[in-house]
């Protein structure tokens, strides 16, 4: 689902009378942190399942036969770069530099799309080499884990594009910096999860 800015109108209300929370953190920020904590267990359980089934497939193809580590490394690098552009987008919106913010938001979304596109290509090439969801335990656990992550990236892209759309309609100013920050938080989280998945799934030999 998507995290979007509320309209400028309410934010002005908010700004006019800053409502003190008990911790000083805003409610939304706390909520996003809580949600990401929950996501940790989601990915934790998926990664554990992958680890449990590592090396237990009865028939091939096996990981070392089809992984293309250099290729995946490049797309991982692309995803990591998108965290950088996300930071730049946030800095821009905090400065009130709407033009740069749009550029960086779009760049982040495009880098994300490159990653997802790369994943789609990788999946098809694996399927062509005979690895599907049904083939063996490796296929099942690989596609479900990385597919879940890909879905998270996709949701992130949708949110980034929504921000971009809001900004085109003039509804994303410095007073919405927190919304950008929180979507950024989600984006970085998804990146960090990818680092773990990339290490566990691709780099550590089974």
């Amino acid at each position: 689902m998507s995290a979007l800015a509320t309209s400028a109108a309410t934010t002005r209300t908010h700004e006019a009378t800053p409502h003190a929370t008990s911790t000083g953190l805003s409610n939304v920020k706390l909520a996003v942190w809580a949600f990401l904590a929950s996501e940790c267990l989601l990915f934790g359980a998926l990664i554990s399942t992958y680890l449990l089934y590592r090396g237990r497939s009865i028939v091939g193809p096996y990981p070392h036969q089809i992984y293309d580590i250099p290729y995946t490394s490049v797309s991982s690098f692309v995803l990591l770069m998108s965290s950088l552009t996300m930071v730049l987008a946030l800095a821009a919106v905090q400065r009130g530099d709407t033009r740069r913010m749009r550029v960086w938001l779009l760049a982040t979304a495009l880098l994300g799309m490159t990653f997802v596109g790369g994943q789609a290509y990788e999946f098809t090439s694996f399927v062509r080499q005979g690895l599907t969801l049904h083939t063996n335990l490796f296929g099942s656990s690989f596609f479900v884990l990385t597919g879940f992550h890909g879905a998270h990236v996709t949701i992130g892209i949708v949110m980034l594009l929504s921000l971009f759309g809001l900004s085109l309609r003039g509804k994303l100013g410095p007073e919405n910096a927190e919304t950008v920050e929180l979507i950024g938080l989600y984006w970085h989280f998804v990146d960090v999860v990818w680092i773990v998945i990339f290490t566990v799934v691709y780099l550590i030999p089974s």
């Binding site: 689902m1 998507s2 995290a3 979007l4 800015a5 509320t6 309209s7 400028a8 109108a9 309410t10 934010t11 002005r12 209300t13 908010h14 006019a16 009378t17 409502h19 929370t21 008990s22 911790t23 953190l25 805003s26 409610n27 939304v28 706390l30 909520a31 996003v32 809580a34 949600f35 904590a37 929950s38 996501e39 267990l41 989601l42 934790g44 359980a45 998926l46 399942t49 449990l52 089934y53 237990r56 497939s57 009865i58 028939v59 969801l133 049904h134 063996n136 335990l137 296929g139 099942s140 656990s141 596609f143 479900v144 879940f148 929504s162 919304t179 929180l182 979507i183 989600y186």
Partner: protein, 669 residues
């Protein structure tokens, strides 16, 4: 899933000048009338909705239980076929856990927690409504399986690979995996919401160690939900993929591990049992002090043992798998951790007893129910400890002894506790009390019926009667006890019927309760009954634990409790000025978004991609429209007249504060 909302509550006396929203639909304004229940985002109304819906499910689940008991009343029963029996006991368990105890607890949390911490609403009112609608819709989705070829039939823990497609080819289990997934989304959203509410929206001075115990236990429960729901979500996703898309997670012939489901399920499942019991413990910790007219004995111990249970609950799951053959080391480890978790539980019991001891007890219905909770829960806890002894458990597991255990903790515990909550908070929520005399009769009948039903199950279990059998032969020596159990079940049913009668009669009698009928201790009793939409005209400032009590009573030098002497100049306070409170406006979109989920579910079950696409579109429409509409429609304003502490002697229900629309009436453009 992160749905970003601003804090809904603008400060009082704010004059709104902002631009109106560009929502596609005209924003609903009504806060009364039938339709307003569909669009409400008031935590109190949502709390009532949770309670009412869960109670309906309680009756449905209860009828299922009666069917089970009718089938087992005599040997070789012929009320239900084997297949029907499997569906009925599975749906009974799922209903009572996911559609009764969890949402009832959540209903109390929704209604009471913001009042107890002195907040005007929860942190995310629309997310709150979304959680409620997802719960209702998830429940209906689950029940629609009866019409669509058969309900889930694999027990509430639905062990895979037995529930994999190969062994369970019908759609029954599909409804399980997707229905529970939908209900999990409801729990997760409401967990995020309540955690933020409790951490972030406490009134000034309401430090953590001044928080009422019910609020504390709600906080712990919602952290448990936050971390347990994703685990069951993954288990369900894996099984869904196995069943619908042919993956191999539970396919043993492809190397799949038959214990994977059990581990994931119980890693969720044991925290889940604390999710089911801690709210009731919270209720009891509120009720006992009020009716003993003493502060809760050892408040910090009760709080910290609640937190300890929350942590330790993660380290005991494999005690549900002692018979699975995990090996001696794992088994012993989990046996020890299970014995240890009984310690914080025992601490609470002694605190409750010490609270009652020496108090001036008023044995009203809430108190009786709470005492019922303590005594029955002790029995259930002790049988739990006997399960932790592995050699004994190998004998007990999968017998009626287990059924006895979890009914003593879930019915004797949770349900008695929640009934205490009904009787205790009813006057606050509806402005009139439930009849105490009928309440007492209900209590005694329920206690007798409960023990007649579940007490003999200990004996039957130890005699070897397995759980989940639909028939037994006459010569087993089980017939008498089974017959007594069925009678007991009907006594319980009658006691629940009495409760309904009580609600109906009390509603007709409308004996006004007043703001603080029990002479209670916590802030929810500091506002009117029922509270106004904005809860408190002025946010209270908290000076101590049991703040309301401290406002009413002082102790003299000998420690004797006396009422606070009236202050001469209260006249001025009484005429507190007009308060303008901006409350978040009602909204359609949580309901719209929630409607997308079951559509996706049906699409998945019947492999209809276009249905999935429609569901997704509905979901996205709801979410986007929701995100783009402002939480508070600028021109709607509620006018309140702050009248602190007015006695409600004349029996008139509180008038509903007028809703005034500044500017053009109802216009949203």
């Amino acid at each position: 899933m992160a749905i970003v909302e601003r804090e809904p509550i603008a400060e009082a006396t704010l004059v709104e000048t902002a631009a109106p929203s560009a929502a596609a639909l005209r924003r609903p304004h009504a806060t009364t009338g039938a339709w307003s229940w569909f669009t409400t985002i008031d935590h109190k109304k949502i709390g009532i909705l949770y309670g009412a819906t869960a109670f309906v499910f309680f009756i449905v689940g209860g009828l299922e239980a009666l069917l089970i008991r009718l089938q087992l009343a005599r040997p070789n029963g012929h009320v239900l076929s084997a297949e029907a029996y499997n569906q009925i006991f599975t749906m009974h368990g799922l209903t009572m856990i996911f559609l009764v105890v969890m949402p009832l607890s959540n209903g109390f949390a929704n209604y009471i927690v913001p009042l107890q911490i002195g907040a005007r609403d929860v942190a995310f009112p629309r997310l709150n409504a979304f959680g409620y609608w997802v719960f209702v819709i998830g429940g209906l989705f689950l029940y629609s399986s009866f019409l669509l070829g058969g309900a889930p039939n694999g027990g509430w823990f639905n062990y895979a690979p037995l529930s994999a497609h190969q062994f369970a080819p019908g759609h029954n289990i599909d409804f399980y995996v997707l229905g529970i997934q939908i209900l999990g989304i409801a729990s997760l959203t409401s967990a995020v919401n309540l955690i933020v509410t409790i951490i972030n929206m406490r009134a000034p001075g309401m430090s953590f160690m001044r928080m009422p115990v019910f609020t504390w236990m709600t906080l712990v429960v919602n952290f448990l939900l936050l971390f347990a729901m994703p685990v069951i979500a993954v288990a369900l996703v894996l099984l869904t993929f196995d069943r619908l898309f042919g993956t191999n997670f539970f396919n043993v012939s492809a190397g799949g591990d038959p214990l994977l489901w059990q581990h994931l399920f119980w890693l969720f499942g044991h925290p889940e049992v604390y999710i089911l019991i801690l709210p009731a413990m919270g209720v009891v910790s509120e009720v006992l002090p009020v009716f003993s007219r003493k502060p809760l004995f050892g408040y910090p111990f009760v709080v910290f043992s609640g937190i300890a249970i929350g942590f330790m609950g993660w380290g005991v799951w494999a005690h549900h798998m002692f018979a699975a053959g995990l090996g001696p080391v794992a088994t012993s480890g989990f046996a020890i951790s299970t014995m240890l978790i009984a310690v914080p539980t025992g601490v609470k019991i002694f605190n409750w007893l010490a609270t009652i001891a020496g108090g001036s007890v008023r044995a009203k219905t809430p108190f009786l129910m709470a005492v019922g909770f303590v005594t029955m829960f002790v029995i259930g806890g002790l049988s739990g400890v006997t399960h932790s002894i592995v050699p004994a458990d190998t004998q007990q597991t999968d017998t009626y002894y287990i059924v006895a255990h979890f009914h003593y903790v879930l019915f004797g515990g949770s349900m008695f506790g929640l009934f205490a909550g009904f009787y205790y908070w009813w006057p606050k929520v509806f402005g009139y009390s439930l009849n105490d005399r009928i309440g007492k009769v209900q209590f005694w009948l329920m206690l007798i019926g409960f023990n007649a039903t579940f007490g003999p199950m200990h004996i039957l279990g130890l005699q070897g009667m397995p759980r989940r059998i639909y028939r037994y032969a006459p010569g087993m020596g089980w017939s008498t006890w089974n017959f007594i159990e069925t009678i007991g079940a009907f006594i319980i049913a009658f006691s629940v019927f009495l409760f309904i009668v009580n609600v109906w009669r009390s509603k007709r009698a409308q004996v006004a309760a007043g703001d603080d009928p029990w002479d209670a201790r916590t802030l929810e009793w500091a506002t009117s009954s029922p509270p106004p939409p904005y809860n408190f005209a002025e946010i209270p400032v908290v000076h101590s634990r049991d703040d309301l009590w401290r406002r009413k009573y002082v102790e003299d030098e000998d420690g004797k409790v006396m009422p606070v002497p009236p202050v001469a100049s209260t006249e001025e306070d009484q005429e507190a000025g007009e308060v303008h409170v901006h409350m978040p406006s009602p909204s359609y979109f949580p309901l719209v978004a929630a409607l997308g989920l079951p559509i996706i579910g049906y699409g998945l079950i019947y492999h209809l991609i276009w249905v999935d696409v429609i569901g997704l579109l509905v979901l996205l429409t709801g979410v986007y429209a929701w995100a783009l509409e402002p939480p508070t429609e600028p021109e709607v304003e509620i006018e309140a007249h702050g009248e602190p502490d007015h006695p409600d002697g004349d029996g008139e229900p509180e008038p509903v504060p007028a809703l005034t629309a500044g500017g053009t009436e109802g216009g949203s453009e």
